[in-house]
């Protein structure tokens, strides 16, 4: 009895009040720790995610919006997941947002072509993305900058090849994880990766 704190010995609901306060404080400190973990995680991936989105869209503002959406979705829906699951989940959301962006762009481009252009090209924008950072070969050679050449070569890849390559080669994800993130078969991941590598080898051989 003497071990019970003074405030807990008060009659009525005081004991419960004290317990509720402790529970609320514990919950608050757990939530704070979780936010700190999420902050560290997001800080560790945000720059690479942004670069991936820029390479995919060719537009810095769009890329920023995509990264923000991915962050919000991760924190809202998967913020309580174990730390090792966060990276695959985050990149899965990021890829989903990039695909959404392409679908919207594709619709916009079709509308534009119906309204004012004679171009009847029916190719899938998702796979046959026009290179937003395209440069002429002589310009590429003149630039001689590794990053310029790399950006151009990566930007020229079809979207799926580009993103599979970045996830495998840069993020270090394995085939299974990449397939889950890209929502395709593992065989497709291997094909996309090998084609991307071949294309890069061809275009960057002289810069490496």
């Amino acid at each position: 009895m003497s071990q019970i704190p003074m405030s807990s010995r008060l009659p009525g609901g005081s004991v419960m009040l004290r317990n509720d306060e402790e529970l609320a404080a514990t919950k608050e400190s757990l939530a704070l720790a979780r936010r700190q973990l999420l902050n560290r995680f997001l800080a560790s991936v945000e720059r690479r995610a942004y670069r991936m989105a820029v390479l995919a869209t060719g537009n810095q503002d769009e890329a920023m919006d995509i990264v923000q959406d991915a962050m919000l979705k991760l924190v809202e829906n998967y913020g309580d997941k174990p730390e090792p699951d966060l990276a695959p989940l985050f990149f899965c959301i990021l890829q989903s947002r990039i695909r959404d962006w392409y679908r919207r762009s594709s619709v916009r481009n079709r509308l534009r072509s119906w309204l004012g252009s004679d171009d009847d090209d029916e190719t899938d924008a998702l796979d046959q993305l026009p290179d937003p950072a395209a440069r002429a070969p002589d310009e590429l050679l003149a630039a001689r900058g590794g990053m310029v050449a790399l950006e151009s070569a990566l930007g020229a890849l079809p979207l799926r090849q580009q993103q599979v390559f970045l996830l495998r080669a840069w993020e270090g994800l394995d085939v299974k994880q990449t397939a889950q993130i890209m929502q395709c078969a593992e065989g497709s991941v291997k094909t996309h990766y090998s084609r991307a590598l071949a294309s890069l080898r061809e275009k960057l051989g002289e810069h490496v």
Partner: protein, 124 residues
Amino acid sequence: MSNRNDLQSELTSDRDARLLDAVRRELDRSVAALDGQTLSRLHTIRSQTLEAKRRSALARLWLPVSGLATTCALVLALGLYWHGNHGTVSGNNADAMEDMDILASNEGPDFYANYEFYQWLTQD
């Protein structure tokens, strides 16, 4: 023939390994070279995201409490309204009518003080 293929494969994989190293290096360099404005925007959206999470957690924490308080207030308000319409106002009206009778009558206050006694007398 097989050895030639193996050698070719090794050379290709070695070249690919160098290519991959170079690509990773360039990409890492590009991330490290992001300008201050971009870094600031990334920091801002991260902070906003986590702040939104904090607010929604707080809202979830207070939602049951505020919901209960709102329900109690509504029940109390409805109760008072109903009681006012069907109970108290009628009772007040009855008391007011009785007071009006007393004030309007010619009897003095003593009569009403001994009202029950006079009632008993009339019964007998």
